[in-house]
Each structure stands twice: as structure tokens, then as C-alpha cells.
């Protein structure tokens, strides 16, 4: 990351040498405008898409639809989400919140030409998606992808996948548009030997994922003959400016932290209300869009540290969470209450008196009545014990 400016310029030079066109997008609107224009220039009214967190982050599908272009998601889970007019809930398996019978119903309702005798057997459902998408792959002239890695030294881009929809999109169309966050860059070709071992193992636990495609610009006679690379900032440079938070840019989107997180396990991905769910989302989303827009996310953690243990690129997520909590806005009443508590707890005699007062309050009224912060709307105030520790100690 410390060499990011020179590496970006190097990547741009290599891709351009090999017949690609590089575009720079400072924010989501600019990226969407660039991609929409590029699609319009081809005259195509439909694009096929490889699963990509970056294009989800910038809401590219919505922008394309607004311009009269139909985006078709080709990853099975993304297709389930798209046909179900739904939102993804996991980085790697976005339809993990749907069971097989729900998926069958979504296909029966929304998949053109689907066999009405469709069962809910996963291989049958996968075969239905294969049949539906095959014709689309062959007849669509433009594809949009993300990138797992961009290699500055050679100008090579890599997409790591399982189903083969990535190979289809990266091979069959005439035009390929790749949207890549500027942090996805790695310096050297040799660095792939590290990441190709880390990513599949951390992500799915496989020794290697079924398919990885790598391409460098345009190869005459093989694959898309027009290649555009859109380099996306959209808040990443601001993340880079934060000395504690910048390590979040090392994320390779493996989702290992989601899979071990006790909070994610209970709440699921939708509860985060951001494109990037789970522990990494709780540090990445507030940094990309501003802490104010995601003020609750840094608190959506018990700081147990399981994410840090699981992270293959060693992002200290708990440390960033604490850092972001300090930046999150706190209400005036909350700040006053915390200051009063700090003052009381620092003075033993005052603290003892406060404990006695709390005991009286317990006798006086229903639990939590009169608390001003709405804290008891969704939870109970713990019962205050009959005897304080100090009383117990004195009577021992």
C-alpha cells in the first residue's frame, strides 16, 4: 500500500501496452457513468455480470437499469438474489439465507423458460441455472467483472471462482469491462503464489478453487477484443489516510471473518445494512462511507477477536473497531451520563452512596423506568442485587 501511487501507474501502463483502456473513477457516480457510457457505445442493451463486491458497492446494477440496460447476474447465488429481488447476505455465498424450497419457488416464479416440474434438489436447481444462462452467455456482447487481483508488474488481472460463469463472462463477449478497487493491486507476478494459496483455503477451505482466470490486456483472436479497466477510489484513499484503519484495505474478501463471528452467526448479513457484512464490513463500511452513515456498525461486535485469528492477511479488526468507536457520534445525554459515571467511579465514597441510592431506586419502581436513553426499549435492565459487594465484605 505504501507504494500505491507508483503501482497504479505501472498497472495502467502495462494494461495500456497490451491493448486495454484504463479509466479512473473517483467515486461511485463517476464509475457508474463510465461503465454505462461504455456499454451504450457497444449498442448492447444487456450485460452479463460476474459476482463482484465492487460493483455492488457502487450500485452499478441500479445505475445500468436506470439507463435502460439489463444487468444479468451469472453467479448462482447472485442470480437467486437477483431473481428474488433480494439483497445478498454473505460475501461468498450471498443467498445463504435462502433454503432449497425457497430457491425453487424463486426460479419457478422469475426464471424465463424454467421447467414447471423443477424439484428442489440442489443439482436440479443448478442445472436449471445452467440451461437458463447458457443462451445468455452466448448471445450477450458485453460482460462486467470485478477483479481479485491486479498485478502491477505485468498488467495481469485475476478472477477466482468456482462455477465457470466467470470463465464464460471473461471469455465469450466482445467487450469486457472490469471494475477494480485501487487496493486490489499486488506488486509482482510472484506475489500470486502467496494469494492463490491463501484465498481458496481461507475462503472455502479448498486446496484450490475450481477455476481461476488470468488475462493481460487483449489477446488477439482469443477472448474479448475490447477491454476496459475502471480503477475505483470511492473512499479508499480516505481509508488509506487513517493510520489505524488503512490495514482494512489488505482485505482479500475471503469471508473467513464472517464464518467465525458470533455476532454474524446470530444476526445474518442483512442486519449490517451495508454491502460488506460481518466483521470486515463493520470496519470497512464506516470507513468507506463515513462513520456517521454506519454509526452502529463499530459497536456490532463483542471484540472477541475471532475475526483477527481467522484473517489470512492479519487485519486487526478489533483494534480498528475500537478506533472507529471513538470516532462515532455519541448523543449529548449519553456523553453526560458517561462523564457522571466516570466522576462517581473515581471517588469511592461517592460511589458507595450511589450504590445505596440505586438500591432504593430498585424498591421504588419498575426496572428501568425513567431511563432517558431508550435503552430499555429492546432489553431489560439487569436486576440490582440485594446486597452490594462492599456490604457483603463489611458483614463477612
Amino acid at each position: 500500500m505504501s507504494r500505491l501511487p507508483e503501482l497504479l501507474e505501472q498497472l495502467e501502463a502495462r494494461v495500456t501496452e497490451r491493448g486495454g483502456v484504463v479509466h479512473w473513477a473517483a467515486d461511485a457516480n463517476e464509475a457508474n457513468a463510465i461503465v454505462t457510457d461504455l456499454v451504450k457505445q457497444t449498442g448492447s442493451e444487456r450485460v452479463i455480470k460476474v459476482k463482484s463486491m465492487a460493483t455492488q458497492e457502487i450500485a452499478l446494477n441500479e445505475a445500468l437499469e436506470a439507463a435502460g440496460i439489463q444487468p444479468i447476474e451469472t453467479d448462482l447465488a447472485e442470480l437467486i438474489v437477483q431473481l428474488g429481488e433480494d439483497k445478498p447476505s454473505h460475501i461468498l455465498v450471498p443467498a445463504i439465507h435462502r433454503n432449497r424450497s425457497e430457491i425453487r419457488e424463486i426460479f419457478l416464479k422469475a426464471m424465463p423458460g424454467v421447467d414447471p416440474a423443477l424439484t428442489d434438489d440442489p443439482p436440479v436447481l443448478a442445472a436449471a441455472a445452467r440451461k437458463y444462462l447458457r443462451e445468455t452467455f452466448l448471445s450477450t456482447k458485453v460482460a462486467i467483472s470485478g477483479a481479485n487481483f491486479g498485478i502491477a508488474e505485468t498488467g495481469t488481472l485475476a478472477v477466482v471462482e468456482s462455477e465457470g460463469n466467470g470463465r464464460m463472462c471473461l471469455t465469450l463477449p466482445e467487450t469486457l469491462i472490469t471494475v477494480m478497487g485501487i487496493e486490489k493491486i499486488v506488486p509482482a507476478w510472484q506475489d500470486l503464489e502467496v494469494f492463490l494459496q491463501l484465498l481458496p483455503r481461507a475462503s472455502t477451505g479448498e486446496r484450490m478453487n475450481p477455476y481461476t482466470t488470468m488475462w493481460t490486456g487483449v489477446t488477439p483472436g482469443d477472448g474479448p477484443q475490447n477491454f476496459h479497466l475502471v480503477l475505483l477510489d470511492n473512499g479508499r484513499s480516505a481509508v488509506l489516510a487513517d493510520e489505524t484503519g488503512r490495514q482494512a484495505l489488505h482485505c482479500i474478501r475471503c469471508s473467513a471473518c464472517l464464518n467465525v463471528c458470533p455476532v454474524y452467526e446470530r444476526t445474518g448479513g442483512h442486519a449490517y445494512g451495508s454491502v460488506y457484512p460481518g466483521p470486515i464490513g463493520a470496519v470497512l463500511s464506516p470507513q468507506l462511507t463515513g462513520v456517521e452513515d454506519n454509526a452502529s456498525l463499530p459497536f456490532a461486535s463483542s471484540l472477541c477477536g475471532a475475526c483477527f485469528d481467522a484473517c489470512p492477511v492479519k487485519i486487526d479488526i478489533p483494534a480498528i473497531l475500537v478506533h472507529l468507536r471513538n470516532q462515532a457520534p455519541h448523543s449529548r445525554a449519553e456523553r453526560a451520563a458517561m462523564r457522571a459515571a466516570a466522576y462517581t467511579m473515581a471517588r469511592p465514597r461517592l460511589y458507595a452512596r450511589a450504590q445505596r441510592a440505586a438500591k432504593l431506586a430498585r424498591i421504588a419502581g419498575r426496572r428501568g423506568r425513567g431511563l432517558p436513553l431508550g435503552w430499555t426499549d429492546a432489553r431489560d435492565l439487569p436486576e440490582i442485587p440485594q446486597q452490594t459487594f462492599r456490604d457483603w465484605w463489611a458483614s463477612r
Partner: protein, 199 residues
């Protein structure tokens, strides 16, 4: 100011505190004994590929038997590997997609194979052809020479030329998107056959 200048300016400003480039330690496993073909076979079979160890003169007959119909072959495939019923893809312009998709199988060589991960890498050389021909048929038959097998991913990366379009294949197409059940065979070839030549 162009967005390029804007972004590069922001990134430079973000790095004003001058963080030193982190070390790139290379002390992970990088040297290996010579590749173990039995490990490769074990990993391929584990990922639901079918492996046959045959002699070179048997390639054409075995491929024809697996395919049971017309086989797409790249122009540079060694002529004595070619079965009788073939469609030759001559590259630019090559076969139309529907003719490739309609074939029973595709037969190619490979560039490198990784024993530890059960991975075959294609680099679109003349004996492997355009990427499209190994994508549309439902059966992919790969002929592998023992000398092409390396033990590990780092050795494969070192052997490959990044200027070529590369396809890394570890077993047939698969998904775990429905209730995390692994289903072999979505969009890519649903059947992967490896013909490993005897040395």
C-alpha cells in the same frame, strides 16, 4: 483536474506519514522435492476428475472412447493424439460457438499441473487452443506429460507466462451456493478427464 490526477493526489496525500513498505517475507515453503504423480492423481480424483495413466500411443483411442462422439481439438494438438472424428479449431477465425458447444468433448494438452492442489493450468498455446473451446463442451479431456507436473503453486507460477491468457482448473465446475451443498457441474465442463502419460 482529471480523476486520475485527483485519485493519485489523494493517495499520495494519504501516505504523507511515509509508511515504509512492509517486508515481503518469502520464508514460506518455496522449494519442494520433485512432484509426486500419485499425489496429483489422489487430488484430482478427490475433486471428482477421472484419471487414466496410459501410454502416448493410446491417447486417440482412449479419448474417442470417453467422448463417444465428435471431439473438438486445437490446431496445434499433436497429430497422433487426434481421434478420427474431430473438429479442428483453427483459431482466428475459429469454429462458431454453437459447433463447439454441440461437440461431445474437447481434447487438449496443458501447460503445467500442480500435484499438491490437483490443478491443471492451460495457457492457450497451440496445443491447447482458444479459451472458448475448453469451456463450452460438457467433457474436457486433458493430456498431461509427467514433466509438466510440479509439486506446488509457487513452482507453477514461476513456469507460467503472464502475458498469455491463463485458466487454472481444479476439478470440474462446482458450486456450494444452495444450502452449502457442493454440486459438481454448473457452467463449465461437468466432466474432467485427465490422461496422464507414462514416462
Amino acid at each position: 483536474m482529471s480523476s486520475r490526477e485527483l485519485i493519485l493526489g489523494r493517495v499520495r496525500a494519504a501516505l504523507r506519514d511515509g509508511p515504509a513498505p512492509g517486508p515481503a517475507p518469502r520464508d514460506y515453503r518455496r522449494s519442494f522435492p520433485s512432484a509426486d504423480l500419485d499425489v496429483l492423481v489422489d487430488r484430482l480424483v478427490d475433486y471428482k476428475a477421472t484419471v487414466r495413466r496410459i501410454t502416448e500411443d493410446a491417447v486417440a483411442a482412449v479419448a474417442a472412447e470417453i467422448a463417444g462422439g465428435t471431439i473438438v481439438v486445437p490446431e496445434g494438438l499433436p497429430s497422433d493424439w487426434r481421434p478420427s472424428d474431430v473438429l479442428v479449431d483453427e483459431g482466428d477465425p475459429g469454429l462458431a460457438p454453437d459447433r463447439i458447444a454441440g461437440a461431445a468433448a474437447v481434447l487438449t494438452a496443458a501447460a503445467v499441473a500442480v500435484a499438491e492442489t490437483g490443478t491443471i493450468v492451460l495457457d492457450a498455446s497451440p496445443d491447447q487452443g482458444r479459451r472458448i473451446i475448453t469451456l463450452l463442451p460438457d467433457v474436457h479431456i486433458v493430456v498431461l506429460r509427467p514433466g509438466q507436473v510440479v509439486a506446488s503453486v509457487p513452482e507453477a507460477v514461476a513456469r507460467l507466462d503472464p502475458a498469455r491468457p491463463l485458466t487454472w482448473i481444479s476439478g470440474p465446475s462446482a458450486t456450494s451456493d444452495i444450502e452449502l451443498n457442493r454440486v459438481e457441474g454448473v457452467h463449465g465442463p461437468r466432466n474432467l478427464h485427465i490422461l496422464l502419460l507414462e514416462s
